[in-house]
């Protein structure tokens, strides 16, 4: 009986995921209204719940896809995977005014470069602080701090060890997950309440999943602006980290 139930969930995984996420959203919105008077967004609670469940899923299964590694919830991987996420992000652009994007355009580009370089330096400095001296190691950890995709791409280009690459992925994951949690809490302090600052935020932070979830938990109307710049971030990181930034590290170290 129980086994055939799991089999059914596995077979109809995407549909099951819709139902599970719908329930999570309902519960989160209820918690938001009931305990925080709506001050803490329902979506922020749902994202936190999701991360918590992902942690449990990861610890239980030892897999890489959080809760989606449990057969019962395998559809979450498809629903929250890159394909549907990008489709939904693009759909948020519907109804956006082009003039808003043009207004912040230059600042968005500045933010992109500043964001990649600052994240890279943050990772590099911490690596040096922990006693790493090889420019390849320092660069790889720095690149991983840019995003968890830039890290492994840079590391394998430069020939870093798999331990360092794993470390760089972890640094990127910490950044991404922290952005999801911290953004709604700090949005007021950093003035994240208009399309312009959202575009700059997207450029500075860059990690697509972090920006996507962070803005969703703050104000869903800002999502297209932040996502617009963030989408160039990983590419720029892959462009800069193994080349210009590596040469810079090698010159200093």
């Amino acid at each position: 009986m129980f086994e055939s139930l799991i089999e059914l969930f596995d077979e109809y995984h995407l549909i099951a995921a819709f139902a599970v996420i719908g329930l999570t959203m309902y519960l989160s919105n209820w918690l938001s209204v009931r305990f925080t008077n709506g001050k803490f967004h329902g979506s922020a609670i749902a994202i936190l719940l999701g991360l918590l469940l992902a942690y449990i899923g990861g610890v239980v299964t030892g897999g890489e896809n959080g809760l989606a590694d449990l057969t019962l919830f395998s559809g979450l991987g498809l629903m929250g995977g890159g394909m549907l996420r990008d489709l939904a992000i693009i759909a948020t652009a519907y109804g956006v005014r082009f003039s808003e994007i043009r207004k912040a355009g230059v600042h968005g580009v500045v933010a992109l470069f500043a964001g990649v370089i600052v994240s890279f330096l943050a990772g590099g400095i911490i690596a040096v602080g922990f006693g790493y001296t090889d420019p390849v190691d320092i660069t790889t950890v720095g690149a991983g701090t840019v995003t968890y995709i830039v890290g492994p791409v840079t590391g394998s280009t430069l020939g870093a060890s798999s331990e360092i690459i794993a470390l760089s992925i972890a640094a990127g994951l910490v950044k991404s997950i922290l952005v999801m949690i911290v953004t709604p809490m700090t949005s007021r302090i950093i003035g994240l309440d208009n399309p312009r600052s959202a575009m700059i935020f997207g450029g500075l932070i860059g990690t697509t999943s972090g920006v996507a979830a962070g803005l969703a938990a703050t104000d869903a109307r800002l999502v297209p602006y932040g996502a617009m710049t963030a989408t160039f971030y990983t590419g720029l990181g892959i462009l800069l980290a193994p080349t210009a930034l590596f040469l810079m590290v090698r010159a200093i170290a």
Binding site: N65, I90, I101, K103, V118, G123, A171, F201, A227
Partner: protein, 140 residues
């Protein structure tokens, strides 16, 4: 029909991804450079043009707005399938690197946003840019 909207959205996405892929290849990097962003700009542009012709029926746009509305649930599913356990098992180096990057990144937002540019767009009211920015975020 709703499928027209979905197809338009999907078409923009594929076109953007192709351009992003080509950009990546031209620059010699193993990544899609801004494909999603290009697709977003394309969707804004194409739907604006169609609007000007006055031919975007509600049923068509419902194919786009549905996926727009599914955004947050999809992000929740994404959060639930993140490798959170690995993030916490990376040790102090990756933890501190991630924390420092987020702190510096967030702190730079008001620095780069700075003072809003003087208004140049004659379509907007001659109010300050701050006022028009907040008006923009309130829209929708």
């Amino acid at each position: 029909m709703a499928i027209y909207g979905v197809a338009l959205l999907a078409g923009c996405m594929m076109f953007g991804l192709i351009i992003g892929d080509l950009l990546g290849q031209v620059l010699g990097i193993e990544a899609n450079l801004g494909g999603v962003g290009i697709a977003m700009l394309l969707l804004i542009f194409v739907t604006n043009v169609i609007h000007q012709w006055g031919k975007l029926p509600d049923s068509t746009s419902s194919g786009i707005t549905f996926w727009n509305a599914m955004y947050i649930p999809i992000v929740v599913a994404m959060a639930a399938s993140q490798n959170v356990a690995a993030a916490f098992s990376g040790g102090l180096v990756s933890l501190l690197a991630g924390v420092l990057a987020v702190v510096l990144g967030l702190a730079l937002v008001p620095v780069i946003a700075g003072k809003p540019e003087p208004e140049q767009d004659c379509q907007d009211e001659p109010a300050t840019a701050v006022a028009s920015n907040t008006a923009g975020s309130r829209r929708g």
